[in-house]
Symmetry: C2
């Protein structure tokens, strides 16, 4: 059961290993006839190239790493699906690494991916630039940041138009008559989170209703975190009549808090989510939400990465996708009084 090597094929055809290599790589230098004979023999022997040996020689492994903050979040899972939908058909293996949003795990994973000589890395919701990413760039390994933009440097970026997304949510609520609108934003100091808050402040200020203190809460992405933040907001002297949560999971946290206080949604509180995963569409949830084109985000990230793997001298690029908006039944006009 020993492995079939290029040598076996060469012997079988009666040519050199070099010729087999060139033939299988479909190099123009080899005669069509020789190519045919080589392919035939390879087929018969069940030969397949060893990516490992090839990698040692060329430095190209045919694998790409994906570093993701939370694999168990359906939102990220959908994005991953988008990524592999382009990478897998091309024969790339994807090494998915989960970081639990922990900086040291991010670092660890990127370091290990580099040792394994991945051809490129997608940083999905990566918190910030690190020594490891710097090393990646220095080693010429292309990086694509997705969803969050880590500060600085030579990385391509795929994201959503956050100001537009925020305005979509605000316009909906404003037109329903809401004036005290709270915001639950991601706690981490990431660019999308900040862009959203800026758009939020700008919008409300522009309409003469600048947000009151306590109306913006920075939370982690967990359901519990948003639940707690919501409970705090409900204790404000003039609590919000509507809440914008910048992820579906956060919105679920809001609904938990409301349930605990015996408040009804949307009667007592309107809630707008972000993402619009399948959860938002469940009959019991029916969350009005900004919808994020998850698969498309993944697809674009993969394409940007491939582009730079093919030619690393290409400049980095940014792709910004437009959000949609889906009105369901978690929003309504505020109660009189």
């Amino acid at each position: 059961m020993a492995r079939v090597t290029i040598r076996d094929v060469a012997k079988r055809v009666g040519v050199s290993e070099a010729t087999v290599s060139n033939a299988l790589a479909d190099k123009p230098i080899v005669t069509a006839e020789t190519k045919a004979r080589v392919r035939q023999a390879a087929e018969e022997l069940g030969y397949h190239i060893s990516p490992i040996a090839r990698a040692l020689r060329t430095g190209q492994t045919g694998t790409v790493g994906i570093v993701v903050s939370n694999l168990a979040n359906p939102f990220y899972a959908d994005i991953l699906l988008g990524i592999s939908s382009v990478l897998t058909p091309l024969g790339y293996q994807t090494i998915i690494c989960n970081t639990e949003s922990r900086a040291e795990l991010q670092e660890w994973h990127v370091t290990h991916l580099l040792r394994h000589m991945v051809d490129g890395i997608v940083l999905l919701s990566y918190s910030s630039e690190t020594k490891a990413t710097t090393r990646a760039l220095a080693a010429g390994v292309p990086l694509v940041a997705l969803w969050r933009r880590p500060g600085g440097s030579e990385v391509s970026f795929v994201g959503m138009d956050d100001p537009v997304a925020m305005r979509l949510a605000l316009e909906h609520l404003w037109s329903l008559g809401h004036r005290r609108i709270g915001l639950l934003r991601a706690h981490a100091a990431s660019s999308p989170s900040e862009a959203r808050q800026n758009a939020y402040t700008e919008y409300l200020t522009g309409r003469g209703a600048p947000p009151l203190p306590g109306m913006v809460a920075g939370v982690d992405l967990s359901i519990e975190g948003s639940r707690d933040a919501t409970l705090q907001m409900l204790d404000l002297p003039a609590p919000p009549t509507a809440l914008i949560a910048t992820s579906d999971l956060m919105a679920l946290g809001v609904t938990m808090a409301l349930a605990e206080r015996g408040l009804a949604m949307p009667a007592d509180m309107s809630v707008v989510g972000f993402e619009d995963t399948f959860i938002a569409g469940l009959p019991q949830i029916q969350l009005t939400a900004v919808s994020v084109p998850r698969r498309e985000l993944g697809i674009h990230a993969a394409e940007l990465l491939l582009e730079r793997i093919a030619d690393s001298s290409l400049p980095v690029r940014d792709v910004v996708l437009q959000p949609g908006f889906r009105i369901r039944s978690s929003t309504a006009p505020p109660q009189a009084g």
Copy 2:
């Protein structure tokens, strides 16, 4: 920026490459003092082993493959977390492959994992034995099946005690007074699905209430599939008063169907789910469910795999974990009449 190799370290310390290799592998043959000097030099130069070169030589890559039927299902995501929680700290890279439950993609992924010389493969909800898995075993690559048991052969298996799980659900419903209990099982002819149906039939028959025709539906794992099946059951002359869905997502499909028909849960229909993911616990869902120890399943699978990676002569083993049961508000006594 050329890579630091073992040769550089050897030169620096003034020993041979062989000694460096042995020292870093902590082989007892090397003096403690030499080891110290080698480690020191490696540190100073920023040397790290090349897993690729090592793999070419030893056949061990330090990577394991995970083939999963649906990455976007939070249930499987949780299991993956369990797997990596043991593999990652040990320095293993995990290559996660999504198959969308498609046989040809399963085959494709296993084949590619073998070419990449993974040290072992976890088959998470793998549908059936294939040429690729046979090849894996022939090549001496250990396989662990998780959740579903693919027919035959030399694979370790980690699963749940399905008969017990089913009885937990039935006992709960029976004691509430339900007698017409429907079952939504996975459509595929997998062993757990069948074990559950057998336990179901046996339980009800043993109590003199064998399931009527149409009370068991085989569905795919999607929300829509279960919705459709539920609608059909509701059209039966004597529709069930309770439904057991063998996954949380299926249970959500049931609730969709109920919502469409204007039926209330649990008043008009009790529903028991399987899995008990975070979705089941949401205030709007509150699904009574058999709870599956997802992380533990993953952890055991990883351990079984490591065991056989370390010593492939070890016999395959099975691990069967016990389910829990969580009563929430999707179940109640049947309505009078």
